[in-house]
């Protein structure tokens, strides 16, 4: 019986096998910019399947090609959940490679914190393991964090161990026209607070009686769910949301209050990146993918501009 991860590595092959890109559900395919049109890039898919739900240890080992929804369904059977964003067709490897959380980040934390161990196929075509299967681990350099959000440009995720959490006993959206900052202060660890400039939504999760209490404290009626999210994604300091909204540059928007992600109809301006950080990116890429065969053209720094040399961060 061949290990599917080893088979995936064989499919990726050595550098001589040419450029490759890992494809998941293509739900966030545009992030990081287009692939280099002048290079023939072979599409590969990470293996799928849940290897082990370690319910008593609150971890799960899953192959990167598994859809997030399939993983969520398997965890729901044991009363657990994982902090990955769910979109139809999105894969575990895909959402980790992109690294973006969903609207529950306020309560569930960023996706990067859910990853305990990664096994990825390197540009050499070999399987590399980083991190460890336990919930706590400081053994060596934290390549797990480096891989999350690297868009498949440093290695191709094949299998991961994720930290799970108890699924909340009750989960309820409420909404109304209230001041979002005041609502955030009043509630204890809501899973989400969203604001579109007029209406504020909150996701309350936990023990049913506590959710009831928090809903009463919020003074808001139930809502069917979060509002539809405009297509473009801004990342700003949480307090900056109000200034941006007042300035009117966002168009229609839904802001993740207390987090700083803003979903807007207007695309964000290019972010400034310090030249020293750009150099670290270039060196990292050159060392992890010397022949530039992993998703050539794509870059975690797409949509940024070089910051002026002086002025600081």
């Amino acid at each position: 019986m061949t290990d599917p991860v080893a088979a995936f590595a064989a499919e990726v092959g050595p550098p001589e096998a040419g450029a490759v890109v890992a494809v998941g559900g293509r739900t966030e395919w545009d992030v990081g910019g287009p692939l280099d049109p002048d290079v023939e890039v072979r599409e590969v898919r990470a293996p799928a399947g849940i290897v082990a739900v370690e319910a008593a240890d609150m971890t799960v080992r899953v192959r990167a090609g598994t859809t997030v929804d399939e993983l969520a369904a398997a965890l729901a059977e044991v009363g657990q959940a994982v902090a990955l964003p769910s979109r139809p067709g999105a894969t575990v490897g895909g959402v980790l490679a992109v690294g973006r959380s969903d609207v529950r980040r306020l309560g569930w934390g960023p996706v990067r914190d859910a990853v305990l161990q990664v096994r990825y196929v390197s540009a050499d075509g070999t399987v590399v393991a980083a991190g460890g299967p336990t919930v706590k681990n400081v053994s060596g350099f934290d390549l797990c964090r480096l891989m999350v959000g690297s868009l498949g440009t440093l290695g191709l995720l094949a299998e991961v161990v994720l930290r799970t959490r108890p699924a909340p006993a009750a989960s309820r959206w409420v909404a109304g026209e209230v001041d979002p900052a005041a609502l955030l202060r009043r509630l204890h660890r809501p899973s989400a607070v969203l604001w579109d400039g007029t209406t504020t939504w909150a996701l309350l999760e936990g023990h049913p009686a506590d959710v009831e209490d928090q809903a009463r404290l919020a003074g808001l009626p139930d809502a069917p769910g979060p509002p539809p999210l405009p297509p473009h994604r801004w990342s700003v300091r949480p307090a900056e949301v109000y200034r941006l909204a007042a300035a009117g540059g966002l168009g229609a928007f839904v802001a993740e209050v207390g987090v700083g992600v803003v979903h807007a109809s207007v695309p964000p301006p290019p972010r400034a990146v310090d030249p020293a950080v750009v150099r670290l990116h270039e060196r990292t890429k050159a060392l992890f993918d010397p022949t530039n065969r992993l998703a050539p053209g794509r870059s975690p720094l797409a949509g940024t501009r070089l910051a002026a040399a002086e002025g600081g961060g």
Binding site: T59, P133, F141, G260, R271, A276, T284, L287, T304, G313
Partner: protein, 487 residues
């Protein structure tokens, strides 16, 4: 006392005097030290290892750290950053006569933003001082290592430190939003950001836990955690260690996520009780200290479930602290545990491994057997909820040959932990202590990938050299072999 000399002390030479003079000119003469006593002090950390520093300097701000790094480079010296030196794995022990850059005078809390729940601090701020300064805002810094009265935030970043309350709240990496760093070439930049999705790779995440090998943190933006609305602290006592360990697994398996879940076996419980008078039952084979927090209904439910799970595994009593004073007393015993050991044996060696929480019972049994085989007393006080074991091997360093037995037993503990699906370290780091054990956990290919990350930040290997990765990790790269070495 069983210390291992790694390198000889540096000689006063013309080159050395020029290095010291340049540092003194860039910082201040009284913040550049070369006295034998000081160099001895900064040649070690809280481990049993010792190295040797060429010179120790005490910068006050980012510019001075950058200047010290550039001067070290100009003089062809490596550099090693350190905070309070509470590390237990030799991560701050200077190897190769480096410039030791001590951050303890960089101890200012620069900015606290209560609304955004973020603070910028200098690396020398002591962990507990930060939490104390935040108390009036109803906020705290969640990582709480046992050394929190002495260890610095910069050290926490270097080691990705943990602590009892990391079970529910996560380790240091989850609480660091951005780090201003002096890179090994002397440049200053910021990794990460105060917004949720800074552009590019998560270099912040790569930096946290890199044990000073990727540069020096000079300002740190930490996430502040709101104090919980309600807290319950429970003490459960058990007739056997197994029953306590099974209760830990049972609590996690039941879907409970306590804020902290600590276990102490009988020898350490007795020592702690004599020291702290916390009212611990000294006839119990093991006790569990469980802290739960949250909103009232969920909290009451969790307290009831923990009690029920404990009793179903044979807990003799379940004591729920009645008020803050009793809570503080129960924690006092736990936090005083390491100090209490000094009354039992002149020396101890503290280990740190992690195993899956479902394997605690069998691994603990192995730990007792290993200690017995080597004729050593052992005490266990640890973060059970994380599966993070901390066996203390007790000894008298004056006993001939005892260190060999201590090291042999320690390595066996590491091996059984890894065999059970565990890892080398949960919070102390690799440093020098476990560097050469890294191949137990990682293949040559895995180590090579880690070495590439290090090389991206520090191509010349001047930041805290020889730490974390065993020699030869960067396989197949002849350029990384020092000049004059035969391959």
């Amino acid at each position: 006392m069983g210390q291992t000399a790694l390198v000889s002390a540096s000689q006063p030479t013309v080159a050395h005097e020029a290095l010291v003079a340049d540092l003194a000119a860039a910082l201040a003469p009284d913040r550049v030290r070369t006295g034998a006593v000081e160099l001895d002090l900064y040649g070690r950390d809280a481990s049993v290892l010792r190295g040797s520093a060429a010179v120790a300097c005490f910068p006050l701000d980012t510019d001075e750290v950058a200047a010290a790094v550039r001067i070290a480079r100009r003089h062809g010296r490596p550099f090693v950053a350190r905070g309070s030196g509470t590390g237990l794995a030799g991560g701050a022990v200077p190897v190769g006569d480096p410039v030791v850059i001590v951050t303890t005078k960089m101890d200012r809390i620069l900015e606290v933003d209560v609304d955004e729940r973020v603070a910028w601090v200098q690396p020398g701020v002591v962990n507990l001082d930060l939490t104390r300064a935040l108390a009036r805002h109803g906020l705290h810094f969640a990582p709480d290592p046992s050394s929190q009265q002495a260890c610095t935030i910069g050290g926490n970043v270097a080691n990705n430190s943990g602590g009892p309350h990391c079970l529910a709240y996560g380790v240091t990496s989850a609480h660091v939003l951005a780090v201003e760093v002096v890179l090994p070439d002397g440049e200053v930049t910021v990794l990460g950001g105060l917004d949720p999705e800074p552009p590019g790779l998560d270099l912040r995440g790569a930096f946290v836990g890199s044990e000073g090998t990727l540069g020096i943190a000079t300002r740190i933006a930490v996430r502040l955690t709101p104090d919980p609305p309600a807290v319950a602290t429970l003490l459960l006592d058990f007739p056997t260690v197994e029953a306590a360990a099974e209760t830990v697994s049972g609590i996690i398996a039941d879907g409970l996520l306590p804020a902290a879940l600590e276990m102490m076996d009988q020898p350490i419980t007795r020592a702690a009780e004599e020291f702290a008078h916390a009212g611990y039952p000294t006839d119990a084979a093991a006790v569990l200290l469980v802290e739960l927090d949250g909103l009232p209904a969920g909290l009451a439910d969790a307290v009831e479930r923990v009690g029920r799970i404990g009793r179903s595994h044979g807990a003799r009593t379940v004591r729920v602290a009645a008020d803050d004073a009793e809570r503080a007393l129960l924690w006092k015993g736990r936090k005083a545990a390491f100090g209490a050991v000094a009354r039992v044996a002149p020396n101890y060696y503290l280990h740190d491994t992690v195993v899956p929480r479902t394997r605690l019972v069998e691994v603990l049994r192995e730990v007792y057997a290993i200690a017995e085989r080597h004729g050593l007393a052992v005490m266990n006080v640890f973060h059970a909820g994380d599966g993070n074991l901390h066996p203390l091997l007790l000894f008298d360093a004056r006993t001939p040959g005892v260190m060999d037995r201590v090291h042999a037993a320690g390595e066996e503990i590491v091996r059984v932990s890894i065999a059970a699906g565990g890892v080398l370290s949960g919070e102390h780091g690799i440093g020098l202590e476990k560097r050469d054990l890294m191949p137990l956990l990682f293949s040559p290919v895995d180590l090579d990938a880690q070495a590439r990350l290090r090389e991206a930040f520090d191509p010349d290997g001047v930041a805290n050299p020889t730490k974390v990765l065993p020699a030869g990790s960067r396989c197949g790269d002849l350029q990384s072999v020092p000049e004059g070495v035969w391959v």
